[in-house]
């Protein structure tokens, strides 16, 4: 029997299918209809992997769009799912930092991946993927270009303003930070230095949350923003522990959901 996890995030929807030891995944943009994209991505992955729906034993939905999936058997929060998923990807980890499209969270887990404590960002976009998206748009860049450019800015910014101190973005608020970026562009500051400063701003914000929970051992960094090497490196610098980004970093939530589904299937089988 297959266990499926579907994580409908604010920006992208992720699906993971567990078939014994084989794990397959799929990602696509959420767009404007979480309900439709949830179903579509589920059907698409089954078709791509050559499964049919009768083989599916259990489906767990997670992510902000979890309530819009009528076909799932169970709904579990992204907090519990990320803990489980990250623990599977990095069994040694006790702290998970997930920076997604509309929120960022720090989750403390035990060795089994069970959540011990968590903290989420407050009501705004500061320190999230959305923040990066807005800034990239302001700079006329794609989000995927930020990491590379940021690296360049890292090298340049210590001398960037001629005074030897790195460029800093002071505002946490997405709207105010955008004004600040526009102001810097108007002053002729190069984009690379601005990007490096933005990375630093997110990393500081997220690190402060992590320190509130308590940082121990290697940290697993997940979510779409974890693909940005500049932010990972800054985070490592702020936290003073290794920050590991698993290759499947965007799938931690969906994977956790599928693992929870698999566990339920095993429990059911044991009962029969």
């Amino acid at each position: 029997m297959l266990a499926v996890g579907i994580d409908v995030g604010s920006i992208s929807t992720k699906v993971v299918v567990i078939d014994g030891n084989k794990i397959s995944h799929l990602i696509k943009p959420t767009g404007w209809s979480p309900r439709q994209v949830g179903l579509e991505s589920y059907q698409e992955i089954l078709e791509r992997e050559g499964y049919n729906q009768n083989q599916v034993g259990y489906i767990v939905g997670t992510g902000y769009g979890r309530i819009s999936l009528p076909f799932v058997h169970k709904v579990v929060t992204e907090i519990t799912c990320h803990g489980r998923g990250a623990s599977f990807l990095q069994p040694q980890t006790q702290l998970v930092i997930d920076v997604g499209g509309q929120d960022s969270k720090v989750i403390k887990i035990d060795r089994q991946g069970k959540v011990q404590n968590f903290i989420m960002n407050d009501k705004c976009a500061a320190g999230t993927g959305r923040f990066l998206q807005v800034m990239a748009a302001t700079l006329g860049l794609e989000v995927s270009e930020l990491a590379e450019l940021g690296k360049l800015g890292e090298l340049r910014s210590p001398q960037g303003d001629g005074a030897g101190s790195p460029l800093v973005i002071n505002s946490m608020c997405t709207v105010f930070a955008e004004s600040e970026v526009i102001g810097l562009l108007a002053q002729g500051v190069d984009k690379a230095s601005i990007v490096a400063a933005l990375h630093c701003s997110i990393a500081k914000r997220v690190a402060a949350m992590a320190k509130r929970i308590g940082v121990e051992g290697p940290v697993t960094f997940t979510g779409g923003v974890a693909r940005n090497e500049g932010i990972r490196a800054k985070l490592e610098q702020e936290l003073n522990v290794p920050v590991i980004v698993p290759p499947e970093c965007q799938f931690a939530g969906a994977l956790g959901a599928a693992l929870i589904g698999q566990e339920i299937l095993l429990r059911k089988r044991a009962l029969h």
């Binding site: 902000y64 929060t77 069970k114 959540v115 404590n117 989420m120 009501k123 929870i260």
Partner: protein
């Protein structure tokens, strides 16, 4: 179809408004208050009606923000908003208002409220242990007595105070007995019912009737037989005051499958263990002793709150604790750290929420509460 045992409490406020109007017409005075530190015994002893005033709804906040800063506790803004828009019937009927210097926000808000009604502010000391604090509080209660006597043109006798103490003690032990029924599993009262009973009773104009209602409720609940084994997570809510209109955290928790079995906040369990000791010779000293023990976060230090929480976690067989801080309530917000330490020492999941009276954060509250229930084993 059987009547809900708490039905009378749902309508209590409305019924009470009509009764208060009748009594006002007969010349009986009404004294409003906002806080559990107000010694209602003195108001009763003066032959006046003590009532709680509204401060748990969002509607009047925008009106309050014409005078008060936005970044202020919503309870203070709501209280002032109700008063300034004259939309709280209890404020409307109040001849006098009693306030206390519990926090800076309230203290300064009462200065503005003076423009609307006669407000008497009691200086509440915040360091319990010192003798000077105790003396100050005794003197403050005496000062309130004189103020009430002058403004209500009555004489408050010691005998009348002792009688009032008897009534309030009785009311309190009954509410405690009702709350304690929730120690069994599954609990006879949902969190919302618990809130309805414990919060609404303070709006009743007639204490003797409140006592009758509580006794009746207690008897009806005592025969409640748990018909099934509960699988719900048993949640303790602590932190800032909650009333009907601002019950969103209780509502969400129960909608998500948890059972809020105990409320350690002002209208809830916080004051329920405290009885006025009738062995004192001076009733004012007896009152001072009781009221100064209230474990509000404005007290420094405030060990009794932690002791109370620890006992409640045990007695109510709690699975997880939610600590709610209203925006800009520094004392509860800071004390949350100590509560977190205590709860984690007990090996239980803890969730600190910072919110206001609006509905803007329902989704983010929901995911946090849902995750807490999952941590407590509901997955």
């Amino acid at each position: 179809m059987t009547r809900s045992p708490i039905e009378d409490f749902f309508n209590l406020r409305e019924v009470s408004i009509l009764k208060i109007k009748e009594m006002k017409d007969k010349g009986i005075k009404v004294v409003g208050s906002y806080c559990t530190y107000c010694p209602t015994e003195l108001i009763l002893a003066a032959g006046a009606i003590p009532v709680s005033l509204c401060g748990t709804k969002e509607e009047p906040i925008s009106a309050a923000e014409r005078t008060l800063p936005r970044n202020l506790c919503p309870l203070i803004k709501s209280s002032y908003g109700f008063a300034v828009t004259d939309t709280c019937p209890f404020f409307y009927f109040s001849d006098l208002i009693v306030g206390e210097t519990t926090c800076d926000g309230k203290k300064k808000m009462f200065e503005q409220m003076q423009q609307l009604k006669p407000v008497h502010v009691m200086e509440l000391p915040t360091i319990k242990k010192s003798e000077a604090s105790f003396q100050l509080w005794v003197e403050e209660i005496r000062r309130l007595r004189v103020w009430l006597e002058e403004n209500l043109s009555v004489k408050i006798t010691d005998e009348a105070i002792w009688q009032a103490i008897e009534i309030v003690n009785q009311e309190r032990s009954l509410i405690k007995a009702i709350c304690d029924l929730n120690q069994i599993d599954p609990p006879p009262l949902s969190g919302l019912s618990l809130l309805t009973v414990s919060w609404s009773r303070s709006f009743n104009s007639d204490k003797a009737e409140t006592i009758r209602m509580l006794r009746d409720l207690k008897e009806r609940l005592a025969v409640h037989q748990p018909d099934q084994v509960s699988v719900k997570q048993r949640i303790l809510l602590t932190g800032c005051p909650v009333g009907l209109g601002t019950e969103k955290v209780i509502r969400l928790t129960e909608e998500l499958g948890g059972a809020v079995v105990a409320l350690e906040n002002c209208s809830g369990y916080k004051t329920l263990e405290l009885q006025t000791n009738t062995e004192y010779s001076d009733p004012i000293v007896a009152l001072a002793d009781k009221y100064l023990q209230i474990p509000c976060s404005c007290m420094s230090p405030n060990p009794y709150r932690l002791e109370l929480l620890e006992r409640m976690i045990h007695d109510f067989r709690i699975d997880a604790v939610i600590d709610l801080t209203w925006q800009a309530c520094h004392t509860y917000n800071i004390e949350a750290y100590q509560v977190e330490q205590l709860v984690q020492q007990k090996g239980l999941p803890y969730l600190h929420l910072e919110s206001d009276y609006s509905s803007t954060d329902l989704e983010s509250l929901k995911v946090r509460i849902e995750a807490l229930l999952e941590m407590a084993g509901n997955s």
